[in-house]
Amino acid sequence: MRQIDKEKFYKELNSLIGEYTVYAPVGDRVKKIKDTKEIKFEGLLTRFPAKEHMLPQNEELFRWNRDKKIEVKIPDTKAIIFGIRPCDARAIASLDPTFNTEKFPDPYYINRRKNTIIISIGCNNPDDTCFCTSFGSGPFDPTGSDLLVVDTGEKFLGIGKEKILDMFGFEEGNDGGEFEALKKKAEGKIERINLAGIKDKLDSLKETDFFKKISYKCINCGACTFLCPTCYCFDIEDMERIDGGKRVRIWDSCMFTIYTQETSGHNPRKQEERRMRQRIMHKFSYYPFLYDIFGCVGCGRCISYCPVNFDIRNVLKTIGGMDE
């Protein structure tokens, strides 16, 4: 397996700053860094996922001035996102079928995605709230990463695109089974939830009071969806100023009442349970139906940061335990 001294890797990464915009974990967020010395891992996952660099919370689509001149700026900077976890990398990949469609390709997203190299770092020590293995993935899954590195203390083992491995100077070598050993150990710590048949089971619950019961304690804030690396819902807003204005795409959340508020005054999802149903169904029924992947990667942020400890694992387990 190809490998590199960590020191050398960071030196290489540092030398790429400038040519590339480099984002890396700095405390609880993945931030733009000017020097690799700024990188600070705080816990396993950053509190805020890296999706903000693919789909910013506020993204200007175009602007205009009073002379009716319209200016469109499609992002074109080359970027590297380093140090996110494999689940977050897969989460970014899960956004592709939504934004990179044949019919409505989204140039903002596509350009960012195309110009960004994602280097994730394997999880030697997963959190209690991790459940990535339930999705056929795992703490060392390179899916969605251009390069996955595994920290062995002195070295990074690398799996990924040849071109990227060469770019950093990963050398051929023998890891002496360390990758498999670390992988096995990490996977052993993660709870695996049986998701077999979950889509059909969910669909059959659609008109029952199941969602009413589970939504009792949800307070309908957007913490879960905003911190979710796969949630991408947005609203579009015109921000007017005296000298012009801009049209901005902003994050929205299906947990908000206003999300489905119609101009007529009608709101098809006024009740809490309907919004809860939407969130769960979107991730575990509609997304698999449309794209053959789940809209969840099992990072566990919605569990850790939910103000009332709404635990999606319990919902999945309850449904999983039901007869088909």
Binding site: C221, A223, L227, I250, P307, F310
Partner: protein
Amino acid sequence: MIENIRREAEKILKEGVVDLVIGFEEGTIPLKSTPVFIEKPEEAQKLVWNSFCENNLAVYINRFKDKKVGIVANGCCSRAIVNLIIEGQIKREDVYIIGVPCEGMLDRRKMLREGKTEKDVDESYLYTNCRYCGHRNPVIYDYLAGEKLEEHSAQYPDIKEMESLTEEERWQKFSEEVNRCIRCYACRQACPMCYCEVCFVDVNNPKWLEGGVTEADVGYWNLGRAYHLAGRCVDCGACERACPMEIKILNLTRKLNKDVKELYNYEPGIDINEKPVLGEFTYEDKEDFIR
């Protein structure tokens, strides 16, 4: 005390006094109890009361408009209930209160950061508002589940410290905090007093506030929300505990509470027969513009 809570919950469910009891059960993550909604008497055994029951359960009462609700309420939860009654949101007879004297909740995130577990329950981890709490006993209840605790008047050393800073320093502190805001509205949703059917940020015609996350946007949101709580906040801390970005929201609301106390000698949510402080005036008020 927990036995008393469970017994009373079971009793009122069995006797049909209430349709459901809102309380706490063991959570699924470390140092967290989670709201639970008990509908069957035999499920009352699930109820717990410990140092990690950090949500204000009063936020749920209005969800069950067609039901008679029993609720496990500590000091601040009971004060929120009083405020909801004063403001005409619920009726006293619609809610059966199992009162719980409360020794305060612990800052779980701080404990987790320091690698602490359930074994390390210690008052040094008390949330600021719990440490300086003035109403540890429920101010209103139908049943009291434990011995009343000694009360001390509410203190604001944290706010006094903030007041002693210069304007620039305060602004810097404020900026640092609000700039982390992601507009998820967890603070609003966790707050029992934030019950507006349409929040000012959700009104888009006229648009009071854009959906941005610039300092102006998040600052406006945080200040706007705080001001709407002037004379109404019961200092339960639910907003700050709910904030996934750990913004120190109480710096604003506790300052308001301190001001309301000093200006009007008023504490919100104590007596159901009182009027909201900003809903009336007396000749003793400091403002003289109305005379």
